[in-house]
């Protein structure tokens, strides 16, 4: 009997009971995560049922060009069960930063998961893949990250791109992108890919995405860019508590002015909230304590593509590529306007020099026509 239980694949619920959680803790977790996923209250039972009956979904979590801030964010998500049920168990399969195994054992664990759960496991990727110099910029266990990714993606049920690195390249893909850091969706085709951008993404968002896959066995609804709609359909601007100041046109001009002290809108000091799709304003960070705007700093736009290259951080300006950091489209536009005005002035002068004959002959003609009429 004992042997039978241990060989059977345990469900999430069983794993939790084994860890010493009560059923009450479990239900609290289900309620919380259901709310985070944006589902109605009646779905709590569905989530609880799924976690009780479905065996643990095997997860392989790969780390490439990244800083591990996604993992850090994930293990700080507000409910300890998130880390316990998902991260502890992930470490049984494969994740470079958290698994107990090392070297040969680790590689073997990954190979075993890929073989035993072919077509079933979820592949989580943290970091981008360098394509420059045959991928030599990111090697693990003697293999390039490109090879590892292709190998792991082949048998994956779905791929989750954690963070901006895996979703759109992030800082290492900023110009001039020396290692040719490439996001996952540009390398792997033909697999469901979920992008969870952010630097890092919010821990609860990450948990919500994973629990959705576990609960429903499908990937969550995605938007046109491939991000889960539940978390990325609204701009940071739309849920910003400083939004009334925006509509009232009351802006912080510098970080040390009176308006900053009054907590006005950070639009003019470079807040990227109006262009950034994320759930920060609703979920906030560190167990809902705060988020950048609440701390008096504009949104950085960390979950948007090439946010490093899109102009100055502390100004609301339209960047213009190739004209230097300080230039912006409006300055160039003003110069163009000046040049145009000068051109027009020159043209007007030239008109009076070159076209005098034409104008004079017209005047003459007019007078002659009048003359003709009089004669008639």
């Amino acid at each position: 009997m004992i042997q039978e239980i241990s060989t059977k694949k345990a469900t999430y619920y069983e794993e939790l009971l084994g860890k010493g959680y009560s059923r009450r803790d479990f239900m609290k977790f289900c309620t919380m995560i259901t709310a985070y996923m944006g589902l109605q209250a009646s779905a709590v039972a569905q989530v609880a049922e799924a976690l009780k009956t479905t065996p643990r979904v095997p997860v392989i979590w790969l780390h490439f060009q990244e800083c591990t801030c996604c993992s850090e964010s994930f293990i700080r998500s507000s409910h300890p069960i998130v880390a316990d049920i998902i991260l502890d168990k992930i470490s049984l399969d494969y994740t470079e930063t958290l698994m107990a195994a090392a070297g040969y054992q680790a590689e073997e664990a990954m190979a075993k998961t890929m073989k035993d759960y072919h077509g079933e496991y979820v592949l989580c990727v943290e970091g981008s893949v360098p394509q420059g110099a045959d991928g030599v910029y990111c090697m693990i266990g003697g293999k390039s990250s490109m090879d590892i990714l292709h190998e792991a993606a082949e048998g994956a049920k779905a791929i989750i791109c954690w963070g901006s690195c895996a979703s759109n390249g992030c800082v290492q893909a900023a110009k001039p992108n020396p290692t040719q850091a490439t996001p996952i969706h540009k390398i792997i085709k033909g697999k469901p890919i979920i992008k969870v951008p952010g630097c890092p993404p919010i821990g609860e968002v990450m948990a919500g995405v994973l629990v959705h896959i576990i609960t429903f066995g499908t990937i969550p609804a995605l938007d046109g860019i491939g991000r889960p709609k539940a978390f990325y359909s609204k701009r940071v601007h739309d849920s910003c508590y400083r939004r009334p100041y925006y509509d009232a046109g009351m802006f912080v001009e510098t970080f040390d002015d009176e308006n900053a002290k009054r907590g006005y809108c950070l639009y003019k000091v470079g807040c990227k909230g109006p262009s950034t799709y994320n759930a920060c304003g609703v979920m906030r960070w560190n167990n809902g304590v705060s988020y950048p705007i609440q701390s008096g700093h504009g949104c950085f736009g960390c979950s948007e593509e090439s946010f490093w290259d899109n102009g100055p951080i502390y100004q609301r300006q339209a960047a213009a590529g190739g004209f230097g950091i300080e230039e912006n489209a409006d300055k160039i536009g003003l110069v163009a306007l000046g040049v145009t005005a000068a051109g027009i002035a020159a043209h007007a002068v030239a008109t009076n020099l070159r076209k005098t004959k034409a104008i004079d002959s017209l005047i003459k003609e007019g007078k002659e026509s009048e003359h003709e009429l009089k004669n008639e």
């Binding site: 860019i225 009232a248 001009e253 262009s275 306007l337 076209k355």
Partner: protein, 243 residues
């Protein structure tokens, strides 16, 4: 005196711009002015130091409202003009704008030489748009298209209506709102430069050619050399001669 007298040109009054074209033009002009003005304010709002309660003021929201409202009018006006390009008179037709043959480019070059570089003293006479102007208007239509795409692309995320939501695929083209907003902003400068050059050239043509260039967009009439008219309207001219 006699020799010049015999050469005197007869001018004919020609109805060039139909009423819908003139309505289109002025609605378009007002919309573009409103869009540029509000767009600049939205991009870089003025500094106001105040300790008023936020609820007492909504000027920035109003500015954005004007921008969006003007954008809708601009959009439908633009759609109407595209339609009119197929049903309007010969001066409003699509082929006045889109080059379909080599002659179009040859004529454009002639106008460049005579009106812009002024390497030749004489004028190229056309009744409706000259070829160069027509082509520039074609470019503005492309700019209209870019502004509609990026503008409604930006707007789609804050609207429930199906029309702006038709554009919800646009952000994905640019990788997100960042780049789309920048393109929307850059393209504004095309409009500013266009307006300046356009207004100048209207005055230029009115001054040099004396054919009622400016007032034609008010009443629709231009004064055209009989010779030029007969070249452009051979059948009409013949009919009238018969009478």
């Amino acid at each position: 005196m006699d020799t010049t007298y015999s050469k005197a040109h007869l001018l004919r009054r020609v109805f060039v711009w139909e009423l819908p074209v003139r309505y289109y033009h002025w609605i378009n002009a007002l919309c573009i002015l409103a869009l540029i003005a509000t767009g600049i304010i939205i991009g870089n709002p003025p500094a106001i130091m105040t300790s008023r309660e936020a609820y007492a003021s909504y000027w920035f929201g109003t500015t954005r409202f004007i921008h969006f409202a003007a954008a809708y009018i601009f959009f439908f006006n633009f759609i109407f003009r595209l339609y009119w390009g197929f049903v309007g008179n010969k001066y409003a037709r699509w082929n006045q704008f889109i080059p379909t043959n080599a002659k179009f480019f040859k004529d454009m070059w002639a106008i460049l030489k005579s009106d812009i570089f002024m390497t030749r003293g004489f004028q190229v006479h056309t009744i409706g748009h000259n070829r160069l102007a027509g082509f520039i208007y074609f470019l503005t239509f492309i700019a209209f298209g870019i502004q509609c795409l990026t503008g409604f692309g930006l707007y789609s995320a804050m609207s429930d209506w199906w029309l702006p939501n038709l554009f919800s695929w646009v952000p994905a083209l640019f990788g997100g709102d960042f780049m789309m907003r920048l393109v929307h902003h850059w393209a504004m400068w095309f409009f500013i430069l266009f307006v300046v050059v356009h207004v100048y050239l209207v005055f230029y043509h009115d001054y040099v050619e004396g054919r009622g260039e400016i007032s034609s967009m008010g009443g629709g009439w231009k004064f055209v050399d009989e010779e030029v008219f007969q070249k452009n309207h051979p059948s009409e001219a013949k009919q009238e001669n018969k009478k």
